[in-house]
Symmetry: C2
Subunit: 230 residues, 2 copies
């Protein structure tokens, strides 16, 4: 079995969910043991966290937190590393270069899932920064997949919801904002919607039956597979 | 702020809950940053896990997992370490001796809470091993507190429930077994019941209004306090 290192804390609730989900997905009746998972939940300042998500400010001050955690996880024995936050995947190159073990990116995992499903038109829900970074647009376009995004006003509203999710102050009105955004994208003819912020899955209802590619879930599945099969 | 190291994975769902709860309890509006938490979720074999909880077998083969994780967490920068499992606190001495940072024990934290509440008679719910180890009897007796336990048959039944909790195969019947056990202890005149297995809190209902000292919750509160105040 491979040891997984998780750069976490963005936010803690989602990291906890990712960890639990991987724990459920690894088939201990086959492996004969629990997965070895090491989580470094980083002490990012709330100032940086909120500024970066609300506005399109520079993310560079966050990078040392990520690099420290990645190096720490590798030193602790992680065979591969994941990051429980979509937006911060703009630093995929920097994290990959800082370590000697594979960094398994959410972006790659989501794009691979879109291709496996055979979609040609997908919607994207994430932070302003994720949308503007084009981290999904470019690899999807290369594969002939069109990407639809929210209009500016709706995107601003969704961003505020994401802040409340991370700060654990969300309520029913955030679920409405989220579901409105999802339906808006389906109105544009998409075949599925990428939840490109790992916290957004917290707003899903068990009764939701639209086609979702949940970044948190696909990362959990991919991680469990690597843990089990190397 | 102090960095917390968690020896986790026993089971993963409870470790995830402990981590999330600490994330909620640390007041980021005061600290200005997220807590730094490192979790080493250990790859214990399911054979050892089940054997130790079902039967009163020797726990010694588990010890190297705990020691490795504790040392790993200290090396990674943990200022203090906790273990998200009650039964394995029989190794408190060995873990404490293996590291140079404080090991904050669940047992001590629970006993301190019982004293703060002024209880003189408390009940205990945990694994067979926790009950037979007398890890709560001795420190409570020293403080003049009487401890009530389940009869052998009920204890065996509860143990099976704990196995199902850890393996995530529990259902409504386990909630009934748990609540029956709780009421049985209150019938004996206890003022509160210690949930001395960190997984048992998963069976609590939001409507439960009996007096519970939940080991998982008191450990979360103590950890958050140390993180914030040193």
């Amino acid at each position: 079995m491979k040891t997984l290192g998780v750069i976490g804390g963005l936010g803690p609730q989602t990291t906890a969910d990712l960890y639990r989900r991987i724990g459920e997905l690894v088939d201990v009746s086959k492996t004969g043991q629990r997965p070895h998972i090491i989580i470094d939940s980083i002490p990012i300042t709330t100032y940086l966290e909120n500024e970066n998500i609300i506005h399109e400010r520079e993310f560079e001050p966050v990078l040392p937190y990520l690099i420290n955690a990645a190096i720490n996880l590798e030193k602790s024995g992680a065979d591969f590393i994941v990051l429980a936050c979509n937006s911060l995947h703009i630093f995929t190159k920097e994290i990959t270069e800082a370590i000697n073990v594979p960094f398994v990116s959410i972006t790659d995992t989501v794009v691979q899932t879109v291709l496996e499903k055979g979609y040609k038109k997908v919607g994207l829900l994430g932070t302003i920064r994720t949308n503007s970074s084009k981290m999904y647009d470019i690899p999807l376009k290369k594969q002939g997949v069109d990407l639809y995004k929210l209009d500016v006003e709706r995107q601003k509203e969704l961003n505020k919801t994401i802040i409340r999710l991370i700060n654990n102050t969300y309520d029913q009105s955030d679920s409405i904002i989220f579901h409105d955004a999802v339906y808006k994208l389906f109105d544009n003819g998409v075949e599925g919607v990428i939840l490109a912020c790992t916290d957004l899955h917290l707003l899903m209802n068990v009764t939701d039956n639209f086609e979702i590619i949940d970044a948190m879930e696909v990362l959990a599945q991919r991680s469990a597979k690597i843990i089990q099969n190397g």
